[in-house]
């Protein structure tokens, strides 16, 4: 059992948990993820490790309420426990002093971008960060991101906060003006990562993305998470989750993410009925 020590509602939809997981915290690094299963009948879902505190023995995750499992997860409170957690999973980010880098975090993807930006900053990089969301309410961790970035750009689709733009607008401008940008990190919805890669392709900028495919065991055993990178099939759980974004087949990723859309609807409706519209 893994106890939730802290819960923070970053918005109506986005929740932060700090969870007691001593051994996972000890090994966690930027770019890793973990899998959790809330209860006996639950499904295994991968979530990103947004931060870790080795002294406290905790990991922090941020998730958005989407389907049944994340809605259920969002009803848990401080002091409650999660039945199963496995991690740290995936190959952690490769960090070195590249020079000048851009970190793009979209929506709930701001959370896993943070430890990567921090590690890049600590390694001596000049870090420019772009965080974006649909609307002001969904922007979080502005302070944390600012603390690890030399420059922070905020965008919202509706212009309610920061620039009224999508993340690719300032990214395109940055790449145009700074020929010395060595690397772009982008984490967010598949569609965002796809268009980030369209932008970086234009400027021939190296791009790393973190893929959020459907997983079951997340240890390489099942292949549910397969993605195509440079025409080759890869398992996001053990070969990734980070890949060279310009080689990723995002259309396939998005199609595979929709595989259970009907089952997700059924599960959600049933859950709403049972929990009284929560």
């Amino acid at each position: 059992m893994f106890k939730i020590l802290k819960k923070e509602e970053l918005s109506d939809l986005v929740i932060l948990f700090e969870i007691e997981a001593k051994d996972i915290a000890k090994k966690a690094r930027a770019g890793n993820f973990f899998v959790l299963k809330i209860h006996e009948q639950g499904e295994r879902i991968p979530l990103t490790i947004a931060d870790f505190d080795r002294d406290r023995g905790t990991i922090t995750t941020v998730f958005q309420k989407m389907g049944k499992t994340t809605h259920h997860l969002g009803t848990l409170n401080e002091g409650d426990s999660i039945l199963d957690m496995t991690g740290p999973l995936g190959i952690h980010s490769h960090i070195e002093n590249f020079g000048k880098v851009v970190c793009v975090g979209g929506g709930v993807g701001i959370a896993p971008t943070f430890p990567i930006a921090r590690a890049l900053k600590e390694a001596g990089n000049a870090v420019i960060s772009i965080i974006g969301a649909r609307t002001k309410e969904l922007i979080f961790w502005e302070d944390k991101m600012r603390a690890v970035s030399d420059e922070l750009i905020i965008v919202t689709d509706d212009g309610s906060y920061g620039q009224k733009a999508v993340v690719t607008t300032p990214l395109d401008a940055l790449l145009r003006e700074n020929q010395d940008i060595k690397l772009v990190y982008a984490i967010g919805p598949a569609i965002m990562m796809k268009f980030v890669c369209v932008t970086t392709e234009k400027h021939n900028a190296k791009t790393i993305v973190s893929l959020n495919s459907i997983m079951v065991d997340a240890t390489g055993m099942c292949g549910a998470c397969r993605v195509e990178v440079g025409g080759e099939t890869k398992f996001a759980c053990v070969d990734g989750p980070e890949f060279d974004g310009r080689k990723v087949d995002f259309n396939l990723l998005m199609s595979r993410q929709r595989m259970y859309i009907e089952e997700e609807r059924v599960a959600m409706e049933r859950y709403k009925e049972k929990s009284g519209g929560n």
Binding site: D23, I24, K27, K37, Q41, G42, E43, R44, K68, T69, L83, D84, M85, T86, G87, P88, L89, V216, D217, T219, G220, M221, C222, G223, A224, R226, V227, E228, T233, F235, V238, L252, S255, R256, R258, M259, Y260, E263, E264, V266, A267, R270
Partner: protein, 481 residues
Amino acid sequence: MEEKRAGKKPENRVKMREQEPLARAKNFMEVPYGYTPEEAKKEASRCLSCLKPSCRGGCPVSIDIPSFIKLIKEGRFIEAAWKIKEDNAMPAVCGRVCPQEIQCESLCILGKKGKPVAIGNLERFVADYERDNAGMEVPEKPKSTGRKVAVIGSGPGGLSCAADLIKSGHQVTLFEALHKAGGVLVYGIPEFRLPKVIVEKEVDYIRRLGVDVIVNALIGKLFTVDELLTEQGYDACFIATGAGLPVFLGIPGENLNGIYSANEFLTRANLMKAYLFPEYDTPIKRGRNVAVFGGGNVAMDAARVALRLGAEKVCLIYRRSEAEMPARKAEIHHAHEEGIEFMLLTNPLRFIDDGKGNISAVECIKMELGEPDASGRRKPVPVKGSEFRIEIDVAIPAIGTRPNPLLTRHVPGLLLNKRGYIVADYETGMTSKPGVFAGGDIITGSATVILAMGAGRRAAKAINDYFRWKYWDTAKLQGSG
């Protein structure tokens, strides 16, 4: 004496009653019902109690078969179970999933004139009887040796090794990456062949023997093998991480929605209980027309699960003929009975899309058998111009696995072969790294439950020898990589 016996017409084997094929193809309940005590005694009475029994030699863990059968004849069922447990900690599992027909039963003298003694059925009976009537009593704890062993992987190899080591008085920790212990017994083998309640009881028994079972512990990530051997103070470790990563067909369209590796399909259905969705949260595509590719036990399991999930038609597509299928005869028979359609001498060429990212058909080609290949089996070659299409909405390649590098890539000094399997001595499980033993599918590639158990037992014995003599021999491993 022998002649006189051989001359007597042996009685027919007592058949184990089972669910009717058409009924069982729609539920996940176990297929055979098991023997009653009367049936067990009757079947046991067929055993000739040979002076020089050969059956025992056919058992990878050398169960004292004649002795346990004798105890059944006498109605001493619980003692019979204990007799088996001297050599095998999980008789309820082995009685169900061992390929007895090519092991113990193939050597039974009765088999020369009729059916051999149903050793597997009897093993299953006494194990079930003991569990239901005596609560699987735990033997007295041995004196502690002060040694600590880490067993990595809680499948059949790890469980049997842990059981033997704890009986030798060592402190044993069993690490499992998934949230439930049992390995292939819980994620792979379906409920109707091996009810999960039985696996849980067997794992619980191992726990009660004193083994510390830790789930959600992915060794290689959470702890490395070196950390176990140094910081955590383990004196030895046994790696039994199993078959690993699924192999796909390598044909176009393989990542369309609706195409599952057999590992994924079975894991969703068995471990995650997706057949009970939405009661359980894990979904699974319930195909109307399902194609399974392969001819092994895993292919049979996947096909029979698809049927139970409500498929109208399940095709088993195999590129050779039925005679070459590696699956157990009994499993092939069960699949036929339940209405699985065998499409033999057929090879898939590509999967076809419905325009929305889902699979809608598979294009295949007919094959014919040519000259024998390296495996000794006649090599299938395509018949020109024989391409055809089958409409399907779920496809399940079940063509094998390759080793998972998650653990092995983090163990310096551990010799792997070209294909990534751990190089280890067959008899002892000794690897190139002192203190590290390995066995089961991670050294041999996909095999059976009982072979992994045999490897676990041999490694336990070798670990005891290693503690006694501090002896490490890797000479035999040279050059095998």
